[in-house]
């Protein structure tokens, strides 16, 4: 469904961020993009939605359902963002307008972006929050972003992201800004929503174990290149690239992830 082919990204005269990245995500498949800071995993994600930094040069092709997304502009690009591809960012507090209540955020996404009538959007906002495991729906809808915890707010963002039933979810370290217990909950909710809707996901993280728990395949990135790509078990039991081996060895011992229960020791 999503095919990235020979994607390279250069900033300025010779700062190469991405080197010929090639990656495919099938419908309904979850692919993890793992690597240390600066390895280019976020930049790969950003290139898909046209939000690479200003002044960067991008070569290679990205196709979504056979459409060249790098060639999209204006209304076609907006349509893709509204209906096909959603993104969840790291820090939910930066994403929501601080002076508007949560309900407005959800309604805006459904009404102004996807063109649903305001009435339907209003009804659906509550349903969506229930779907992401929020009990006090009415209270949360009326709350302003600063009144909610990071975990709660990230659930709201996930609710907004799945509102349009997108076919691809881009998740850029969605749990990094949260504390460990909330991380597990949010991750479990994200995983559940993904399976319910049959969404594909491109999941960026530096946590190899977390990626292994929720992804069907994992690509390991280093200095703008994909050095190894394979099934989680493959990487865990038989890493081919020395960098993957180093990543495996550097994780905290005795901690494994399961999508349902979070970290268990």
């Amino acid at each position: 469904m999503l095919t990235i082919d020979n994607l390279s990204l250069t900033i300025g005269p010779d700062l190469q961020i991405l080197r010929e990245v090639s990656l495919a995500v099938a419908a309904g498949e979850a692919v993890g993009l793992v690597g240390e800071s600066g390895s280019g995993k976020s930049m790969t994600l950003r290139s898909i939605l046209h939000i690479e930094p200003e002044g960067s040069r991008v070569t290679g092709t990205i196709t979504f359902d056979g459409v060249d997304v790098r060639g999209l502009t204006g209304e076609a690009l907006r349509q893709m963002r509204a209906n096909d591809v959603s993104m969840i960012a790291q820090n939910p507090h930066a994403v929501l307008n601080p002076v508007l209540p949560v309900e407005r955020y959800l309604i805006e996404g459904m009404h102004d972006a996807q063109g649903q009538p305001t009435k339907t959007a209003k009804l659906r906002a509550g349903e969506l929050l229930e779907q992401v495991g929020i009990d006090a729906v009415d209270r949360v809808l009326r709350s302003y972003p600063h009144q909610l915890s990071g975990g709660m707010l990230q659930r709201v963002v996930i609710a907004g992201a799945i509102a349009g039933k997108p076919r691809l979810m881009l998740a850029d370290e969605p749990t990094t800004a949260l504390d460990v217990t909330t991380q597990a909950e949010v991750m479990a909710i994200l995983d559940e929503c993904r399976h319910e809707l049959g969404m594909a996901m491109l999941f960026v993280t530096h946590d190899l174990d977390l990626a292994a728990a929720v992804c069907d395949r994992i690509a390991v990135m280093k200095e703008g290149e994909i050095v190894e790509i394979g099934l989680p078990e493959q990487l865990r039991d038989n890493p081919q690239h020395p960098y993957t081996r180093a990543l495996m060895e550097s994780r905290p011992a005795g901690l494994t992830w399961t999508p349902e229960g979070g970290p268990t020791s």
């Binding site: 993104m87 994403v95 307008n97 996404g109």
Partner: protein
């Protein structure tokens, strides 16, 4: 309200009080003014201060206090027109430039630069030469001259906000640019627009007074502060400075009050951003 008082400080509150007095005086001029501002008797000319004529009379025997009150009307409406037009069009241009960026931004910025190159008063005089002298012409011409000031300030702040995540992420949700601009960008630059308008008000007042002084704005025998400074010149030479001095003082004090309040509001906007 308490917060407002804190931000304003003592001087700021005094300035607000002065503005309130001037505005109320202008609004209720017909009720407060003891005499008709345009009719006087030559036998009553050049009277000193008395209970009958609070600030004395001018060379035509007209009550200066009444003329000051009535004069506040045109002296305030002129700048009001200028500020309203400037704020609306300046913001519109700024936000258009910021949202579309690229060529649109470059083009609009060059047009603004071009307008900047004209001295304000010269532009106003040009318009008056074509359309004839009146307060409306002067105010409209000055509005055009002021648009680049307000547009440039709003543009620079909106440009900063444009790249913040709360503006960027609705874009990724696929929300149309015009909705994001109106609902998220505009409210967050609004404090700056208000501040700019307050400060511009003072500038516009001085320049409109200058135009009236030159006989290009408000026309006699109507009362207007700038006009009064001008018509009082002859009396000044004859040793009766009251008219020119009082009208001049009115302008200076009002402009200073608006300037100070604007500055305080600006500090408030800046402080609000930090929080």
């Amino acid at each position: 309200m308490k917060q407002f008082a804190e931000r304003m400080g003592t001087l700021g509150l005094i300035a607000c009080g002065i503005i309130a007095v001037v505005v109320l005086g202008a609004l209720f001029a017909p009720l407060i003014a003891p005499y008709d501002p345009t009719i006087g008797s030559v036998t009553q000319r050049y009277q000193g201060m008395s209970f009958e004529h609070l600030f004395g009379t001018d060379q035509a025997g007209r009550d200066i206090f009444s003329r000051l009150l009535w004069g506040a009307r045109s002296s305030l409406t002129g700048p009001l027109i200028v500020v309203a037009i400037t704020a609306v069009f300046g913001t519109l241009i700024a936000l258009t430039a910021v949202w579309w960026g690229g060529i649109v931004d470059s083009f609009l910025s060059r047009v603004l630069d071009l307008l900047f190159a004209f001295p304000n008063l010269l532009l106003a005089m040009l318009a008056i030469a074509v359309f004839g002298p009146s307060l409306t012409t002067a105010a409209l011409a000055l509005s055009v001259a002021y648009i680049p000031y307000s547009a440039r300030v709003v543009r620079s702040m909106a440009m900063r906000e444009r790249n913040l995540p709360y503006i960027r992420s609705p874009e990724l949700q696929g929300i149309p640019g015009i909705v994001i601009t109106a609902r998220h960008l505009l409210p967050n630059v609004a404090p700056l627009i208000v501040t700019g308008a307050t400060i511009n008000f003072g500038f516009a007042m001085i320049e409109l007074a200058a135009l009236s002084f030159l006989g290009l704005g408000v026309q006699p025998p109507a009362a207007d502060w700038g006009l009064m400074v001008s018509s009082g010149q002859q009396s000044l030479l004859n040793g009766y400075p009251a008219e020119s001095v009082l009208a001049g003082l009115s302008i200076v004090i009002t402009v200073a009050a608006f300037g100070y309040v604007g500055e305080r509001l600006g500090g408030r906007a800046a402080a609000g951003r930090k929080a």
